[in-house]
Symmetry: C2
Subunit: 328 residues, 2 copies
């Protein structure tokens, strides 16, 4: 491999001048610039990025945390982020936390060991106090998920509004017996807020909720099947179900249809996210503006890297949109 030294020698100039040409610094005559360019081509030279990283103390790389990339919500988010990053000259390192605290903490070393310039979190497993100390090593931007303590920019949606919007829609359609599938695990703020919004919509309409209409830990299509299994056994089943994800909604819808139930006549279902699968299954759903979230988050990150210090807390709240289809 040719080094900058080789180029300098061939061009009959110093490393400094070659470096100047590479980095488009001023104060290099056209003549020498040509000499350098020619030498670079001749030697098939490319700057070694490890050396450059070391000297510059930056990596042009950003780590993106997702629980699992196969979740279409997150893969869409990552798709857009990678595109934006590439445009701005950054690369993405993919970190799958697998919904595990320890995994998430392990990846934090990337920032500490200067392998990346910053971290974008799309989900949060640990308490914010775990992240806090790492802010001295580089910027962190949160998106989708949010945390009250996090002193960093966050791009997210008001999930209370989102679930309120969806629930209100069910109520407006005349349903009064409403089931609820809680999506997220444990203590996620998202799932808490969604529940708040759901209950608020009920309260505003003066509707009561039965405990047995409440389902926990429903993420997947499979979980949707199981929810329906439970529903079908009830003496007094809900007329409509609010779900935290299109997968669950799709699972319920499919199981219902397989059992000979009609959607929405026998049971109405509303999803969340507006994934491709929602269109396929004709699901009414609450859409999250994934592209905007991803773009905003990436812009904030690149800005933070440029100014070379962590950005302050800042909330960017984007709106939901209700997509009406035939499942409600």
């Amino acid at each position: 491999m040719a080094t900058i030294q080789d180029v300098a020698k061939l061009a009959g100039l110093s490393r400094t001048t070659v470096s100047r040409v590479i980095n488009r610094h001023p104060y290099v005559t056209e003549e020498k610039k040509k000499l350098v360019t020619k030498a670079m081509q001749e030697l098939n030279y490319v700057p070694n990025s490890s050396a450059r990283r070391l000297r510059r103390q930056q990596t042009e790389t950003i780590a993106v945390y997702v629980p699992r990339i196969t979740n279409p919500f997150f893969s869409h988010l990552v798709e857009v982020m990678e595109k934006e990053a590439a445009k701005k000259g950054y690369q993405l390192i993919l970190c799958q936390t697998q919904y595990k605290k320890e995994q998430e903490r392990n990846f934090l070393e990337l920032l500490k060991t200067k392998q990346v310039d910053g971290l974008i979190l799309t989900s949060i497993e640990n308490d914010w106090s775990q992240f806090e100390p790492y802010l001295t090593f580089g910027p962190i931007v949160v998106c989708n998920e949010y945390s009250d303590e996090a002193q960093v920019p966050s791009v997210f949606l008001n999930q209370i509004e989102g679930s309120y919007l969806g629930t209100k829609h069910l109520i407006d359609r005349g349903y009064t017996k409403l089931g609820y599938c809680a999506g997220n695990h444990k203590s996620s703020r998202i799932s808490k807020d969604r529940k708040i919004g759901f209950l608020k919509a009920l309260e505003d309409a003066g509707i009561e909720m039965k405990n047995e209409w409440f389902f926990n830990k429903a993420y997947s299509v499979q979980d949707g099947f199981e929810v329906f299994e439970a529903v079908i056994k009830m003496d007094n089943p809900p007329e409509a179900i609010f779900t935290g994800s299109d997968e669950v909604a799709a699972g319920i819808a499919k199981a219902a249809k397989d059992a000979g139930w009609k959607v929405p006549e026998d049971i109405a279902i509303i999803g969340f996210d507006n994934q491709p699968l929602a269109e396929l299954m004709d699901l009414t759903t609450v859409e999250q503006p994934i592209e905007r979230i991803a773009r905003h988050a990436m812009e904030l990150m690149v800005e933070a890297i440029k100014v070379k210090k962590p950005l302050n807390r800042k909330e960017i709240i984007l709106p939901f949109q209700l997509i009406k289809r035939s499942s409600t």
Copy 2:
């Protein structure tokens, strides 16, 4: 940030010894080892990875090329690869080629500039001759896609067999008027082979194919809708359709059902991949063993990096499996 020098000073030892402790070299007394460990903790020291990369001439990072991460086939592949890579101490850089030759070529610089130790290609846009010269910079492993010229290890499936398997199944079910949706774009070997397998199955059964039953450029659910639009207008429509992806199959199935057709009575459909959506839509499909592909490819890559020279051409061919559901 503390450096190795600081640790050395605090421990009253040389950088060398500290480095030895970090890298678990032999010939360090327990006593000094403790001193070093203590100093490292006290200073909250972590080795700077840029420096280490420069000196070691390796990055512990692998680039994975996919067309788009939102394609469930590829996101599944990447999910498994990331997990395997993390286990072995490697990180993944995600490269989305967007099905574009130029994008793909751009990412090649990662290898040349020593930003990654190797490349795993899951799809190939350019001719192999474009990749060939980069082999001097590091190993390349191909999976899913394949190329006859590529002098590198490849993990793939015999797509001729795959489509033969699916088509044969349709024939065995008694269908004789078979439509075909070509998935991949342009000159992909995969799509060529799939077609060969399809035609071979017809030939072996002595069945004729009509030109109008042949559909090009069908990748998405939307494309599936359009295929059905065309089918419904035909005087002599096919009885069954072979598709190159579950998305297309799902699109056709949905459009057919929406139009009041029965699946499989009015039209049978077979998908490809066995994505979650195939189960949801009850699609018979040809399953590709994604996890095995991903794991094999990653193992080959890590091995190639370890031995520090490109591996020879080598074909690892994995088997398909037919998943029977109610769409055929």
